[in-house]
Amino acid sequence: MATEEMEQLVRREYKQGFVTDIESETVPPGLDEDVIAFISQKKGEPQWMLEWRLDAYHQWLKMTSPDWAHLNYPPIDYQAISYFSAPKSKDDAPKSLDEVDPKLLETYEKLGIPLHERAALAGVAVDAVFDSVSVTTTFKDKLHEAGVIFCSISEAIREHPELVKKYLGTVVPKGDNYFAALNSAVFTDGSFVYVPEGVECPMELSTYFRINAANTGQFERTLIICEKQAQVSYLEGCTAPMRDENQLHAAVVELVALEDAYIKYSTVQNWYPGDEDGKGGIYNFVTKRGDCRGDRSKITWTQVETGSAITWKYPSCLLRGDGSVGEFYSVAVTNGRQQADTGTKMIHIGKDTKSTIVAKGIAAGKSDQAYRGLVKIMPRAKNARNFTQCDSLLIGDRCGAHTFPYQEISNSSAMVEHEATTSKIGDDQLFYCRQRGIDEEDAVNMIVNGFCKDVFQELPMEFAVEAEALLSVTLEGSVG
């Protein structure tokens, strides 16, 4: 492909980059106990929640930002961030789409998410988070019938304090790590899902996250609980508008699966990655952890990571129950000057536990990405099994791809396998396609999609389609 053509493609702007002008109610930048109290009060939280937040804040103050990841970014000034921003219409919370601020709806339209249409067509209930407050929740009635609770975490704190109290922070403790502690102190919204015993959630649950108002970090907190023999599939997808300043995102996701429960958590992440010089873009420092608490429970993480300037994310599984299963399927694509350090942790605690890790990394442009994973087999985890495969594809000679898999095994009956390869798209593969009249860009897309197939197969249908499209958008112009 001609160089000019390539450059033209590379320079193509982020399609989802725009800012919606909504009057935000934002606290001034900075973080102290007053800000936390403000957030807690705004959310109408009980006293115990405020104390919980303050405890997390005090732990956070004593911690230092982790520096072990293969990432390079200037120190973050946590006092320059505003920790609360909510759309104005919050006080008269809408009951249906009609009551939603039309500007918001417009935003979703621009993103290509026709909310009502999509929800109806795909049978998906959408708990859309715009900045920090859930503005609309659909299909609540149907879920209510099945006994499934699906609401914002703030609502859950108010309406179901006993459940929140019982589970919040039990998978990711307040002081788990720097970003988790920060999140615990200042989280403003996120989703809460509770599926009662024996219930198979009648539809796939979905949330779209958006980060909007300038200088506002987004601190989501998601908690999903599946009682015995319950099942749920949760979809998380994100886009963010173009911004010049780096925006911090430090979410925490906790999953609890009791006996025979199954939680499937799928993510498509397409936040603004910054411009070609790496300016702007989201810092995505996320703690995601699932706890297979009951015997024979199962948790599946599937992620397609194409956005963000910096990704620091390791969705993990604690395989506590005997016979529990953890799975991690990931596609990470970096281009431009994106940096990603992502992977998973599988901690085998119970007997006969199994885990599967399939991670596909594609690095293009001047990007850098690393797979970092841990498989730990505890002494009592008899007959634990793990299979790990991580493959990297490099496109261009200015990028980097790295693999840091840790294995800690202290049981002789364990079987742990790890395989990793790094290669580029074969010239012969390209030639084969071009010879059959497929142009280079399409050929690369096809090959890359084939490379990621093992992971895409694990995605829910509508996400799989979106993921393939996203992949080609992300890699646009990176080949030649």
Binding site: W68, P379, S392, L394, I395, G396, D397, R398, C399, G400, A401, H402, T403, F404, P405, Y406, Q407, E408, I409, S410, N411, S412, S413, A414, M415, V416, E417, H418, E419, A420, T421, T422, S423, K424
Partner: protein, 442 residues
């Protein structure tokens, strides 16, 4: 961890006592001491020492060796018996009586470090510490401060030596001492040699050995390096091997570790010229409470370089094995092939393995893969042998040996291979039996 006083005091004492040394050596010694004082011993908070706690060394009381006396019987009981050019060190000090360099071809020299520094101090001084400087690790700094003896092997261009060069480091029982040997190998263009570093200890030896080896391979040089580590069960062994490879050079390492209470080996291979090749073979076998840590690093700094690494670990009792293999490919080092594999066998539920095969790649036209597996013997294979009338213990013994043999088959020295086979067979737990099949060492 701050540097313990025991080491610092000994250091001050030592550095000040070595007054008759050339000033450049004294300066390096001081630099090593200063660096060690600043760093202290590593703790598990350091990523490179995450799985290895060296506090037993840090808290140890190790004197400096006073003499190199060793009777011929004690020596014969443990040495490798083969035809070689031999240098023997007892507790780090040269034993002239037990060394037997024999006749060397022209253009090849094998000398103790102390002698080489006098004979050829410019060439030796220029290379010494170039690959392993005091910043490499606190142990490298400590070695630099204390080092005074070791071996220097030099081959002129085109020289080939037939017999292996045998460096025996013998560790005596008695009150604990420490030694900081230094090995320097400099192979000229298209030269060829085989070097065996053998660390062996008497049964009750509880010494601390901290060795650094540096290898320079000029264009087309070919070097095979064996390290056979059979320290006693209560010894501490820390080593690092650094290799600088020019174009078309060929290096093979056989890193065989059977002994030691606490063992840490670092291997750093820099492929600095096109078509340089390196092959790293490793075997570690741990029993009881042994701790064996192997850190390898292959740096593909130049295009069209090739590396292949195969490490195997067998761990029984409450032993702990660590493997950290890093393959690095520099930006623009295209058409590199780098392969790495680590397989581990756990014989007991109280044994542990921590393995981390790393790839760090900045060039796109490369072929790299790594694999790590941990498990137990294939029950189908055990069954197949039993179906043929072999009892279970023997079947397990044979299969364990077969697991190790993949690494051993690469050795070109039958004496070494046999020695390892016997040692492994002799150390297997009771339910693994090889009696009558393999000569078992005690």
């Amino acid at each position: 961890m701050s540097a313990p006083d025991t080491f610092l005091n000994r250091l001050t004492e030592y550095v000040s006592s070595a007054v008759d040394e050339p000033s450049w050596i004294a300066a390096r010694r001081q630099a090593g001491a200063a660096r060690f004082e600043a760093l202290g011993f590593p703790t598990r908070r350091h990523e490179a020492w995450k799985y290895t706690d060296v506090s037993r060394i840090a808290n140890g009381e190790f004197a400096l060796p006073k003499d190199a006396e060793l009777s011929a019987e004690r020596f014969d009981a443990l040495r490798l018996n083969f035809d070689a050019h031999r240098l023997v060190f007892v507790d780090g000090l040269l034993s002239e009586t037990l060394s037997d360099i024999g006749a060397l071809p022209d253009g090849i020299s094998v000398e103790p470090l102390s002698k080489a520094l006098i004979d050829n101090h410019e060439a030796v001084g220029g290379q010494l510490g170039r690959l392993a400087n005091v910043d490499f690790s606190p142990f490298a700094a400590l070695n630099t401060a204390f080092a005074h003896e070791g071996a220097v092997i030099r081959l002129d261009a085109g020289k080939v030596i037939e017999k292996p060069i045998y460096l025996l480091f013998f560790s005596r029982s008695g009150s604990p001492v420490m030694s900081h040997p230094r090995v320097l190998i400099s192979a000229g263009a298209n030269s060829e040699a085989m070097v065996v570093e053998h660390y062996v200890g008497e049964q009750d030896a509880a010494n601390f050995t901290n060795v650094i080896s540096e290898v320079f391979l000029d264009r087309g040089a070919n070097l095979t390096h064996y390290k056979l580590q059979e320290a006693a069960q209560s010894e501490f062994h820390v080593s690092s091997l650094h290799v600088d490879q020019s174009r078309e050079s060929n290096f093979a390492s056989h890193n065989l570790n059977l002994g030691g209470a606490l063992v840490r080996n670092d291997l750093v291979c820099d492929l600095n010229g096109e078509n340089a090749e390196t092959a790293l073979w490793g075997l570690f076998f741990g029993q009881e409470r042994q701790h064996v840590d192997n850190h390898t690093q292959v740096n593909h700094n130049s295009p069209r370089t090739f590396s292949n690494e195969n490490y195997k670990g067998i761990l029984g009792g409450r032993a702990r094995g660590v493997f950290n293999g890093r393959v690095y490919i520099k930006r623009d080092a295209q058409q590199v092939r780098g392969y790495q594999s680590n397989a581990n066998l756990l014989l007991s539920d109280r044994a542990e393995i921590d393995t981390k095969p790393e790839l760090e790649i900045y060039a796109d036209d490369v072929q790299c893969s790594h694999g790590a597996t941990t498990g137990q013997l294939d029950e189908n294979a055990v069954f197949a042998l039993r179906a043929r009338g072999i009892d279970e213990q023997t079947a397990r013994g044979l299969l364990t040996l077969a697991f190790a043999n993949e690494v051993m088959e690469a050795t070109r020295l039958p004496e070494v291979a046999e020695r390892v086979e016997r040692a492994v067979a002799g150390k297997l737990p009771e339910r693994f039996n090889l009696e009558g099949l393999v000569e078992v060492s005690e």
